[in-house]
Symmetry: C2
Subunit: 418 residues, 2 copies
Amino acid sequence: MRLQEQVRQQAVDGKSAAKYLQLASTEQKNRTLAAMAQQIVRQSDQILSANHTDVQAARDNGMGEAKIDRLLLTAGRIQEMADGLLALRDMSDPIGEITERFVRPNGLLLEKRRVPFGLVAMIYESRPNVTVDAAGICLKTGNSVLLRGGKEALHSNTALVSALQAGLSECGFPTNCIQIVTSTQREAIDEIIRMQGLVDLVIPRGGASLIQRIVQGSLVPVVETGIGNCHVYVDCAADLQMASQIIENGKLQRPSVCNATETVLIHQDVSESWILELVTTLQQKGVEVRGCDRIRQIVTTVGEATEEDWNTEYNDLILAIKVVEDLQGALAHIDRYGTKHSETIVTEDAQAAEQFLLAVDAAAVYHNASTRFTDGSQFGFGAEIGISTQKMHARGPMGLKEMTTYKYIGRGSGQTRN
Amino acid sequence: MRLQEQVRQQAVDGKSAAKYLQLASTEQKNRTLAAMAQQIVRQSDQILSANHTDVQAARDNGMGEAKIDRLLLTAGRIQEMADGLLALRDMSDPIGEITERFVRPNGLLLEKRRVPFGLVAMIYESRPNVTVDAAGICLKTGNSVLLRGGKEALHSNTALVSALQAGLSECGFPTNCIQIVTSTQREAIDEIIRMQGLVDLVIPRGGASLIQRIVQGSLVPVVETGIGNCHVYVDCAADLQMASQIIENGKLQRPSVCNATETVLIHQDVSESWILELVTTLQQKGVEVRGCDRIRQIVTTVGEATEEDWNTEYNDLILAIKVVEDLQGALAHIDRYGTKHSETIVTEDAQAAEQFLLAVDAAAVYHNASTRFTDGSQFGFGAEIGISTQKMHARGPMGLKEMTTYKYIGRGSGQTRN
């Protein structure tokens, strides 16, 4: 079968499984999540051996250690995945919830009811944990899923999906509820995003170029996720000790993720001695600081930040720092270079804080808190399929509710329209 | 200036106006809506004269009377538009509403707040009333708007927007809150839908080919609207008199609109004499009926319905009728040919009704009511910018709330992440 036909057949099968899944009860879905958790633990040996093959090949191809670490599975990590599925089981099911109910003057009762999307396609990098997370979230929300992970994780993902499907079968669910697209060709992605009417939603997770390619080529609605060029603005009225803690946390706690802090903006009236101390501390902790002219006058060891730096999501131990004239200068910088992910103001001035919170156009805007909080678990959503940086449908962390749509149900007694 | 640069400059201006608009108070916006209403009435003469030019040209170019009627303005219709703006003024403002508020264990207070999208682009046909409706809805929801109506309505739309802008100026709002793209070239549309980062949302209203072209070319999130191949299923347990009323209402009350009924599916056990009566009545009322073999055996004057008929949204006095084996047969037909707009079951069997309401994948699913109810005013939304047939963001009638997105506001006291 040609690649396109193969992928299309999987979508047809997934769509048909979705019809079954949308009618499944919460109890059935929960039992299946538990069975899936049990199966991935039971099939640990096969999964670890498949993962070993992937990791070997990745090492041979010179993959960096940070990426190897994201690819690597251990018995402990498999247990964590299983625990994640059990946590999903214990969360409340949004499907079927009536979010609004109203009677029209003619007696027509209208209900707005949460329903699944149908068939969701996940396109992501070589991270096997995303395979299990996405499969679990989709199952809980009654969506079938087409998984297309990075090619370096193909053996691991195939083994994981096989275990998940064993869990589905055990509970009488069609195995097509969770499918993996095994072609490593880019054309497989091109086909997935062109299947209008079959695929209901595409969620790409990965680098900016992958996401842009999907946005540009997709005929199916896309939720863009996770590009985060996040700023901390230190106002003239900031508690500077708090500012240091928030900046260090934003840069150092986990530099590789999308909600890490990438640029610090500092009001021109903030004391030079504090700036000197901040930069020195960061440098001692291994951060390469790049600054504007003013910063470089205060700390001569700082390299020059160029236009490219303001535009860059480093995802690394590099931080850009710029002195701005005032709050308006900070807002203008964020407006120009921000990616609408997470932005923070540090200030004791309530009015400046409100102005910042209202004016900044981003999924999450903070006052006196780290940018690192934009995350499903930190928000208390329990599970997260990604962090949306677009404005349509869902913004910020996408949990179970965000993986649903709705339909209106009208209950009448013969009403016709005048 | 080149066309592309011109359109892009309008988008930049619109985006900058959106920054002003998002901070405007409800009272300011309401005052402006009233001023806009007053201005279109005050400038009636100019608007009617511009509309006369459009209508003349359309007649000369052989436009059909139904379309001419949608293009035509009268003093009464201008007054209706003004009344529509005043009705918007009187509706509650969704912007700023805190829809959720929760405190995390670390003390971080999270608020989910409704905010405007920013800059919305409306691409639509030659209907001047859409110009005023869309401008009003966008203003009320704090969005600036780029209007690109059909070229046959260009003079009318230009005159209307000029009056609306006079209302904006009068209240100190930037006129760029409401802009019209005057180029009648298709390239203007191509440019609008490629302005990722400037345009926040595109809403096309029009025929299937316009909408498909936009979905295929757009880099900006799109809400697809209004393609409605709607069905009425007459179950074996239907109240047949009610069924006749619902079918006649769905086909005859306003055949040109998206929620009109296009195909009737009838359970095989429904009496032939009722079918004969239904078809005869419809034919007497000017409806051309096309049927499956079984229908044509019952009523010999009925033409043959082909595969194309099942797929067609007639928007006209034509109705396709098919006998199906049972409820499953009806569901399969709707699944295959429906456009996820509005679907109705007529039955006195509560269980069959629930099965239909759950299984059908559409924006609105009705039990014993006309498909014609899927409409902002019928739902009590007051205003409507279109009817979404996609699942992302909004489904069904889009009123004020559906023209908003949200952001999370985090209020902390120095929280950092462990």
